[in-house]
């Protein structure tokens, strides 16, 4: 069974020098999509990513991360579209830095690809009917 979760990794300074994410992919066959990263050698690092793979591998990967000293949290923020409030005007389409919004060519309805969202929050305030919500 496949799982896909968004997690926040806190790296203690001792771990930031190690190729942790590389090993997640190589040893545990997990795919990752980095949403936000702030990792410098010798300092505490932060990595927000979506981690996907088979449940068994996912669990082993998480265990590996814990053993190396990485602190794991589930993602505490999320951007969600209120489908009732969205008027499909399209004002968000060219503002999103990661192109999470696109237009359905035939109907010109706005498609929100949640997996591309890096939760920067830019669309939240720029959405005229305030249909994009940031949850904590």
């Amino acid at each position: 069974m496949d799982v896909s979760r968004r997690i926040v990794l806190h790296f203690p300074p001792t771990v930031t020098g190690q190729p942790v994410v590389y090993r997640l992919a190589k040893d545990f066959d997990l795919s990752f999509n980095i949403l936000k990263a702030s990792v410098s050698p010798g300092e505490e690092g932060l990595l927000v990513m979506e981690l996907s793979g088979e449940q068994e591998n996912y669990d082993k990967g998480i265990q590996y991360l814990t053993e190396t000293g990485v602190k794991i949290q589930s993602l505490s923020q999320d951007v969600v579209r209120d489908e009732v409030r969205c008027t499909h005007c399209g004002a968000c389409v060219n503002l999103c830095p990661t192109f999470a919004f696109s237009l359905e060519p035939k109907t010109r309805k706005v498609i929100f690809d949640h997996s591309k969202c890096v939760i920067c929050g830019l669309c939240v305030k720029a959405c005229p009917p305030r249909a994009m919500r940031l949850y904590f």
Binding site: G90, A91, C92, V93, N94, L95, P128, R130
Partner: protein, 403 residues
Amino acid sequence: MSKTIAEINEKIKRGKAVVVTAEEVIDVAREKGSRQAAEEIDVVTTGTFSPMCSSGVFLNIGHSKPRIKLGGGKVYLNDIPVYTGLAAVDVFLGATALPEDDPRNKFYPGEFNYGGGHVIEELVAGKDIKLEVTAYGTDCYPRKKLETWITLQDINNAILFNVRNAYQNYEIGVNLSDRTIYTYMGVLKPNLGNANYCTSGQLSPLLNDPYYKVIGIGTKVFLGGGIGYVAWHGTQHNPNVLRTDKGMPKEPAGTLALIGDLKQMKPGWLVGTSMLGYGCTLTVGIGIPIPILSEEVLRYTMVSDADIFAPVIDYSEAYPQMKPDILGEVSYAELKSGHIKVQGKDVPTASLSSYPKAVEIANILKDWIKRGEFLLTEPVAPLPGAESGITFKPLKERPIEEQ
């Protein structure tokens, strides 16, 4: 070939009217030829769903016991100030009104999360609205304070009266400066980072009747999910602009003043709207039926996005400084491709006007007419055309000398 509105109405009553949307008519008429299409089609329905700031509601809230005179006093609906310069219990709630304590752009860019447009949306949704009044008191209206909840259902009248809606064409906003700007045309990224436009193009009401041959004062329309009427030409109505060979204005031109009973309007078609760094407004859903009285009227409804051109304006300098410079003209077909070329640069486009909602409105109006629920009206007077001499003037400032 010519038809009258009375003849079309007879067909509507019998459930026999042929109705297509302004999007559908393009292919139908190209296939059949405009002559045959004009004979077969009775009504073409248009639609638009955009922020329209010159919108608002006249409310008569009813007389309290003892009586209170709102006129000349201070009145708030959900903390939004309303205009009280009217009779005792009439007020006007404008779409762009803000709470007194809204920080505006003090914390730039201001968020403008709640304003007059949002109160209008909540009224239509049937929600409780907090009314707060302070009045000066008179012999016949002695009360000085009033705080109560009101709903749309309980008050006497709520008349949506928008003095400028349904702009015939509109500018495309871009930003030539090196910082992000926050405008009524949306967030414009620096150095031509994006381009925003704001009409429904080929579905837009007045672009399907460019010379106001059938839309006039008294025309019955879809307004905010209910019925409304064209009350007058809108403010800034400017018929005398440059046009293409097909009569399409190449810049903002005609406008409509619309009126309707808010009590029969529907949630979802009047939406409180926030423009980051600019203010609050109301997004209004409008649909106007075009009776196909002649082949000429039909030919105008065949307008497609490729025939509509709009000017590209720099909102960092040319717009605020009232400079006439335009950076070029592009068609709606180009705008809808997702990119336009401005000064040689490929600029991604976005719309502030919802095309899917415009399509939905045109289809709702089509259904109403097909089901015989919506009859057309004969205009009682035409909208002013180019011959009227109406122009759109800038403000002429004159110094005020101290006495």
